[in-house]
Each structure stands twice: as C-alpha cells, then as structure tokens.
Symmetry: C2
Subunit: 217 residues, 2 copies
DNA sequence: AATTAATTTCAACAAACGTTGAAAGTCAAC
DNA sequence: GTTGACTTTCAACGTTTGTTGAAATTAATT
C-alpha cells in the first residue's frame, strides 16, 4: 500500500512539495510552471499531477502541509498562556505573544522551508483571488479561539473593533514575514528584514497598544 | 459623435490601462494575459504592445499612473497638517491621518479605478518578487518625508523602531485595501471590508498607539 | 516466483502565451 | 488632395503552458 513506513518513495512527493513551496513563495501561483517545479525537485513532469491531481491541488497541498502544524503549535501556546495566567485570564500581550511566537519557534533561522511558507502565506493573504477563501479555510477556526481569549482580556470591547484590530495585526504580521526587503531599502540598512527577532519583539507591544487603545474601555 | 454610452471618447490607451488595472488587481501580473487585457478593453491585442512596449511596461504604467497622483495628494496633506500645527509640529495622529486620509478622499466609493489600484498595490507590497523594488521606487521618497515628520513628533525615538512601526502600518494599510473579504467571513458580517471609513477611523488610533508605545520615550 | 498495486517515466496533445513585421486606417497640417 | 506622422488591425511566429494515456519501473503481497 501507500505511505506505510517506506521512505524513499515518500521522498519524491515531499521534494515536489518543497520545490513548489519555494517557487510559489517567490513567484506566486501563476508565475510558476509545473515544469519548473519538476525541474527544481528533480522529478519527471507528470509526477506532480499524479500525486496532487493538478496544479491547484499541488498549491493546496503546499498550503495545508504546514498550516496544520502551525495551528497545533499556536493552539498549544494559547493553552499554555491561559494556564499560566491568573484568575482573570491572560493579558492582551500574552495572547498576541502566543499567536506570534510559534512562527519564530519553527526554526525560522535554520529551516528555509518555513521561511518560504510564510512568504507564500503573506502573498496569499493580500491576494484578492486567494486571500478571502484560503486564509479563512486554513486559519480562521484557530483565529476565532484567539479572538475569544481577547474578548476576555478586553471585556468592554466592541466586537467590530476587535475584528478590525486583528485585521491590522494580520496585515502587519504577513508583510513582515513576506521578506520583500523593502524596510532595508527604506531605512538604508538601519532596520533589517532578516532580523525576525527584532521584528517580533516590536510587533507584540505595537499591536497590543493598538488593541488597548481601541478596545480597552 | 454624441456620447451614446459604450462608444466612449476615452482614448484606447486609457481603456487599456483601466482594463489592465482591474485584471492585475484581481489576478496578479502572471495571472493576466495580454489577450484578456485587450478583450476587456475592447481593443486589438497588438495595441498594448505598441503603446507600452511589452507586458512589463504595461504593468509599470498602471502602477505609475496613480502613484504620482497619490503622492501629490499625500504631500499636500502633510504640508497642510504641518501648517495647521503649532510650534512643536503635528502630532503622531495628525501625521498618520495625512498619510491615510488621501486614500479615502480619492473617490474611493465612486471610482472603482482607485479601488482596483489599491488592491493591486496591496498585492505588490506583499510580493517577494515586486514588493521590495517597486514599492521603494514609487512610494519611498514620499514615505521618507512622513518619517521625518514622525521623528519630530517623536524626538526620542530609536530610528530602527520608527522604521519597523511604519512597516507595521504599511502591512495593516495594504491588507485593509486589498479587499479580500476575509474580515467579513471571520466576523460573520460584523465587520465589513466595504466599510472603508470605519477601517480608516480605527486604523489611525490603532497605529498611532503603536507608534507611541515603541517610540515615545 | 508470480501477481497485483503503486509509482515513475515517456511522448504527445491542444490550447494559450508574448511578441512583432507589415498592412491598413486615422487625423491634422499644408 | 497630398504628405507625413501617428494609431490600429491583421496574421502569424516560435514557445511555453497544463494535462493525460500508455508504457516502464519499482514495491508489496500472495
């Protein structure tokens, strides 16, 4: 049967996913051809269609693969910060931290696969064509749990304000992980897009302050 | 000839730009063919190449056309809020307002051309392929003037913090104007992506609070 | 070893792609 | 009404595109 325990044949399927992940991240869905994916992965052209049906199936598989892992890690971080918090539940800062920190924890420095994945998600998130449907499908069930926790931390918040605040967080987050290099040029090298730790340490208080200003009444 | 409606007096060159703008906004550079642009504009396929050289030239022309207008409007808004401010210069809120308000002022409700343009910019901004170079080219000279004004309003700010704060602003802004419809689904209709006025009124205090938290020392 | 199932390769399809040279059309100025 | 510059169309070029049926190879099961 298929994926029982053998390794060598699973390798090719994963090599295709890795190659597609890197290429989609750089050039988007329509900027990548099945032939380039096959060439980059070192496999035959037809193999991607065999494993994933068609190009769109390959795209979905790339997005799904790490979404599940990220969602689990984020959920664990949320549960942990709830457990560590006192009676009134975690603070805004702690909740936002639980949402952001897993992205760094996933070996961002070493594992270029995750880096490519976040670049791809950034592109999808801001895309009219994919943004609404795909992000909702892969991430919103978990995002709702974070927003529920924020409702406890900000009990007097207007729900509409809360959703807009998350939206701003989402935009700041995805652009930062898109790695376009724009901040390097704008700042003449003072701020470096490679410095994800520095970005993370600034994003948490920045976003938390925004939440409090709008929702802490 | 009297304006009978479909046969407009608008030049073919502008019809091509309008059609390309709408299509690039929805599907990105590689998701649009020259044939689709020609069909949508109601002109011959070869005409786009004649006017703009090639596909990339058309893309650049679309981006440049409104960038110049937006930059002028933003610069005027910045000068006005400087003039209206007292001795110490405008506040953080006033500066951010001068950056955001022109996007609403450009007939966002009526003029779908501007809406398409902002969707396109959102996509470009988060794109690894285009984000760094194109956004820098078209917008950063003006952005630097806004950051200079922010340096006056936040005299003790670390420059790196300031650039990161602008980066977060840029991400929140472009995602909001990308109109992916995600916030509608996430909030079950409580927050509407069509409500640009509501988004604008929330974004200014949200972002200003973030700036102050990191840069007001 | 024989048989069945899963994987990988090969070759080719028809459709769509960006670009371009040359012909045809338009318009203003003389 | 002829000239000349600019605009628009036509037709076609050589590539590249996603997909697929059939053959070949490898792995698993009997």
């Amino acid at each position: 049967m298929a994926d029982g325990g053998s390794n060598s044949k699973v390798k090719r399927k994963d090599r295709i996913l890795d190659a597609a992940e890197a290429l989609f991240a750089k050039h988007g869905f329509d900027g990548v051809s099945m032939r380039k994916v096959a060439e980059e992965a070192g496999v035959d052209l037809a193999l991607s269609s065999y494993h994933f049906g068609n190009k769109r199936g390959l795209f979905d598989a790339v997005l799904m693969r790490r979404a599940e892992v990220l969602n689990e890690t984020r959920l664990a971080a949320l549960e942990r910060c709830k457990a560590e918090a006192g009676e009134g539940g975690p603070t805004v800062e702690a909740i936002i931290n639980a949402f952001l920190e897993p992205m760094l924890a996933h070996g961002y420095q070493e594992d270029e696969g995750w880096r490519h994945y976040f670049e791809l998600v950034a592109q999808v998130n801001s895309s009219f064509e994919w943004g609404g449907q795909l992000m909702t499908k892969y991430f919103d069930p978990l995002v709702r749990k974070f927003i529920d926790a924020l409702k406890v931390a900000l009990p007097n918040a207007d729900p509409a304000d809360l959703y807009w605040c998350y939206h701003f967080l989402s935009g700041a987050l995805t652009l930062t992980f898109a790695h376009t290099g724009r901040i390097d040029q704008l700042s003449d090298g003072i701020a470096k897009s490679e410095d994800m730790v520095g970005a993370y340490e600034r994003m948490v208080p920045f976003v938390a302050a925004g939440f409090r200003r709008l929702c802490d009444k």
